[in-house]
Amino acid sequence: MTKNTAKKKAVSRKDLTYRQWIWKEMKRNWVAYLMILPYVLIFTIFTVAPVLLSIVISFTDFNMLQMPNIVWLNNYINLFFADDIFLIALKNTFVFAVVVGPVSYLMSFLVAWFINELSPRIRAIVTLIFYAPSISGQVYLIWGTLFSADSYGWVNATLLELGFIDTPIAFFQDADWVMPLCIVVALWTSLGTSFLAFIAGLQGIDRSLYEAGAVDGVKNRWQELWYITLPSMRPQLMFGAIMAITGSFGFGGVVTALCGFPSVEYAAHTIVHHLEDYGGSRYEIGYSSAIAVVLFVIMISANMIVKKALSKVGN
């Protein structure tokens, strides 16, 4: 019976044009479209439509009050040639992303790899220690207390006592300190989803591969890492990279919470801050949409480039 229908279908597919066949398949699977409808609808309204709308609005001077005029590329020209603060934000965003992205990625991988051979119970505890800062809400505010500007701050007091400094440093109000400290705090909260993905990826590698590798002359753990471990978990490495890159470019809330807005001399001003400033406070929606589009393009291209590079690991 089933054999018969399968045969019939195969024959009938040959008789149909591609378009007719697609239409037939669509009708046959109508339930599937029904099942994806609610999610796809919400996804379209709250993710796809806002991106497309940003692109459209970025060519106008929309400000929520007056009828928008089309200004073509003016917003973009202003951004790159007239807005000095945007250029600072662009530079800071890249510094953040170039430091925080790869370092947090490496840290996530190394820690996951180091703890891979521990016993399950100890591994669970270590995982919790490293993962906890990223899920604990505003716990990063404690860095503000540790690095408090007066001598009651633990770091200042310790440095004073050891004789490294004579007067307390106002860490989060000092243009020289803001950026490095925010990077440290960002790293501290960055062992998140990619970290868990790496732990799982390492656990999932077939043990027999290592035995085969040992027979084939793999001598130490570094060779094992390069020839067996990394190629076996390439999908997780890819997923983790995307999580790390997206996180490092979207970084902003921590800076505002610790340094205030704007940060001193715009020392830690990122594109996200610039976007919130123009969109959220000044209602210059057209201009802020242009900022959003620039950020969008940067994030997507960074992800694409890294994806390309990672697909070569172990090849």
Binding site: M26, M35, P38, A49, F130, P133, I142, T246, G279, I285
Partner: protein
């Protein structure tokens, strides 16, 4: 037996003592970097007033007390919107957002993973691409869309976007790809079960770790949500926002704010401790193939 011994022998061979020491050292240093600020929050929360303002400051608490927690509850009682309202707001939006997401996203994930319909490839590609940008990009235009739908300043502004979280759908779909076998579904279909029934009765029980993960991710995001640009009314704001207001009260409230931070972080940490093995299991199939 002999085989076993050679295997053990080889493992010893490939692990040099120098490497072990180095790794332990790096791991310990990184571990201290991660754990010390967390310990410091705990210490601060249990320090009495004179220790909080002692000079020179000490890392460790000497005479632990719960005064800070009592102060926190007193402060909560003085706010003009009762604190129970903020707590209700957070719990209500977290529960509604999470369950809606679980149902809608897993149904979509099932169809994308297990039904071969035209278009599923590029639909999933599009959803996967949205993992590559941060939601701040879409915040302002979402605001415009939401005001068009009259969703601004209602619970829906928090709840409905949560139904469309991408990461949850992505992890669920990947998990179904590897853990729901087609043979089982095929026999259910042959028995005459509808796709909806197959999804709910056959597939869903097979992916429990993935729904735990989905619930936890969505819950964590909603629980940690602070002030939102979509909400103006004080009565609709989140617990986390209210806690932030107490913390913002300046240095006078250093103790109470540490206590608040400890209470806020306890919930996601407990949830993670309970569900860790499920999450790791789900992450096992999180990989991206192309």
């Amino acid at each position: 037996m002999a085989r076993l011994r050679t295997r053990k022998h080889k493992v010893v061979l490939s692990r040099s003592a120098g490497g072990d020491i180095g790794i332990t050292l790096v791991l310990t240093l990184l571990g201290l970097f991660m754990v010390l600020p967390m310990v410091y929050v705990l210490m601060q929360a249990f320090k009495p007033l004179d220790e909080l303002w002692m000079y020179p400051p000490r890392f460790y608490v000497m005479k632990p007390t719960v005064t800070n927690f009592k102060d926190l509850f007193t402060l909560m009682n003085t706010s003009w919107v009762p604190f129970s309202r903020y707590i209700f707001n957070t719990i209500f939006t977290s529960v509604m957002g999470t369950f809606g997401h679980l149902f809608i996203a897993s149904m979509c994930a099932y169809a994308l993973a297990k039904i071969k319909f035209p278009g599923r490839g590029w639909i999933f590609k599009t959803i996967q691409t949205s993992l590559m940008f941060h939601s701040t990009v879409t915040a302002i235009t979402s605001f415009i869309l939401m005001s068009a739908f009259h969703m601004i300043d209602t619970y829906w502004a928090i709840i409905i976007p949560a139904w469309g979280y991408t990461l949850g759908l992505y992890l669920m779909k990947q998990f179904m790809d590897t853990n729901v076998t087609d043979a089982v579904l095929e026999s259910a279909r042959l028995d005459g079960a509808s796709e909806l029934r197959t999804y709910w009765v056959i597939a869903m029980p097979m992916v429990k770790p993935a729904w735990m993960t989905l619930i936890i991710y969505s819950f964590q995001t909603l629980w940690n949500a602070g002030s939102s640009i979509y909400i103006y009314s004080e009565q609709l704001k989140s617990f986390n926002y209210a806690i932030g207001q107490i913390t913002a009260g300046g240095i006078k409230r250093a103790g109470a704010s540490a206590a608040a931070t400890v209470l806020m972080m306890l919930v996601p940490i407990m949830v993670f401790v309970i569900s860790q093995s499920n999450i790791i299991e789900t992450m096992g199939s999180s990989g991206m193939k192309d």
